[in-house]
Amino acid sequence: MAKQEIKLTVNGKIYHLEVAPNEILLNILRDKLFLTGSKYGCGIGECGACTILAGGRSYLSCLIPAVAADGWEITTIEGLAKGEELTPLQQAFIDEGAIQCGFCTPGMVMTATALLNENPDPDEEYIKDYLRGNHCRCTGYIAIVKAVQAAAEKQRQG
């Protein structure tokens, strides 16, 4: 099982890595780059805790072999804030109390970021539908939907 060299750009930083064909992108991010914000929930595409962005779109990093991500430009939850300055969406999660244990939060925020890129003015149904692949065992989702709505409003006001 020969290792292969891949190039990843993660949160603006370029990495050259040797990876085995059987390593998934999520584990490379967590174990090699120590970006442990992306979570390993189920490993089979069901929970959304491992969500990352590439090319503005959201992907489940547990279903992507690291070798298949060669050349990708990736944003993880660690790459959203500029220093101490959170994105409006991150701030809204705090303000609305949309975080309890926090395990789902990185994935939830990444998917919601993709949502707001696609549709700056989403209604409640749209948000619920868009987030249906991200599972939360704590909050009951209501505060999460409110946070996305609040962030959308803030973004529209500029």
């Binding site: 292969q4 064909p21 059987n22 489940l60 279903l63 992507i64 070798v67 949502l115 868009y130 692949g133």
Partner: protein
């Protein structure tokens, strides 16, 4: 994951060459493949990633009037296509109901068909649209009607070393898709149905195609149901009743943890009715 080799195929010739090796295993979006690898169902293989074949990641309206969709086209692209929304609403609706937006960004139409699940959501619409597959191996290309492609659960007519390049069909605006699952989101279907219809000026059904998912070992065309309707007046309640009886001959559902066979039979009748009415809704009734 145990023991794997891996090849990123940059173009079609190198993909076909890599697939010709006996241990080759094709990976597209990976949403079925990675789950199967994790479960240990696939091992000791050379994974051949075909995502570099970007010429098969597109939806085109061809000069001959047919729509061609490359095998690597993601479900999210189908769900965002105005062309499909207008000219193939059955497939468009299936894409909009597929999994969740995350999975849709990775899942491809070729992988959905080649995985050959009885519950593959793009299969019934494409069967109802009488789609044809474009297949390729190192020895050349061939075309195959989709209804000859599915041979059993996870079994297809692909020969070793062969892959799906694209799927093609004539547009039909009078087509529809319905999915019944245990809940709205993220649920494997209990029954799905797709219908495609053509009516003449008098409102007589000239052609009618009906297909089901999750009511047999493969997605299937309901030929008895189609016969019961062809040549009759659209939306005649008597004919709809005959349609619901006729489809019982076409399907062969099982009991599983999601639903009983009897319930599936009942629901196949209900969905057949809704699918034909919804396909013809826009035609003056």
């Amino acid at each position: 994951m145990k023991n794997f080799n891996y090849i990123n195929a940059p173009d079609l010739p190198s993909a076909l060459e890599a697939l010709a090796k006996p241990d080759a295993y094709l990976v597209a979006g990976g949403t079925n493949a990675l789950v199967d690898i994790r479960a240990g169902k696939i091992n000791d293989r050379t994974l051949v990633n075909i995502q570099g074949l970007t010429e098969f990641d597109r939806i085109t309206l061809q000069e001959n009037g047919r729509i061609q969709i490359g095998a690597l086209t993601a479900i999210s692209k189908l769900a965002a296509s105005d062309l499909l929304a207008e000219k193939a609403p059955a497939l468009y609706q299936a894409a909009c109901n597929f999994a969740d937006p995350l999975t849709r960004n990775s899942a491809t139409i070729g992988g959905n068909l080649a995985n050959a699940s009885p519950a593959a959501d793009t299969a019934p619409p494409l069967l109802a649209l009488d789609a044809e597959l474009l297949l390729a191996s190192r020895f050349g290309e061939r075309r195959l009607p989709l209804q000859e492609f599915f041979l059993g659960v996870g079994k297809t007519a692909l020969v070793p070393g062969e892959m799906v390049l694209a799927v093609e069909f004539m547009p039909n605006s009078f087509s529809s898709f319905l999915k019944l699952g245990l809940r709205q989101a993220m649920a494997i279907s209990i029954v799905t149905a797709a219908a495609a219809l053509s009516l003449d000026k008098e409102g007589i059904v000239r052609e009618f195609h009906l297909a089901f998912g999750s009511v047999g070992p493969t997605p299937l065309r309901a030929y008895n149901g189609e016969k019961a309707v062809t040549g009759t007046e659209f939306a005649d309640p008597e004919v709809i009743k005959q349609l619901q009886e006729a489809v019982q001959l076409d399907i062969n559902p099982i009991d599983d943890l999601r639903a009983g066979a009897g319930y599936r039979r009942e629901m196949a009748g209900v969905l057949a009715k809704r699918a034909i009415l919804s396909a013809g809704r826009e035609v003056g009734q």
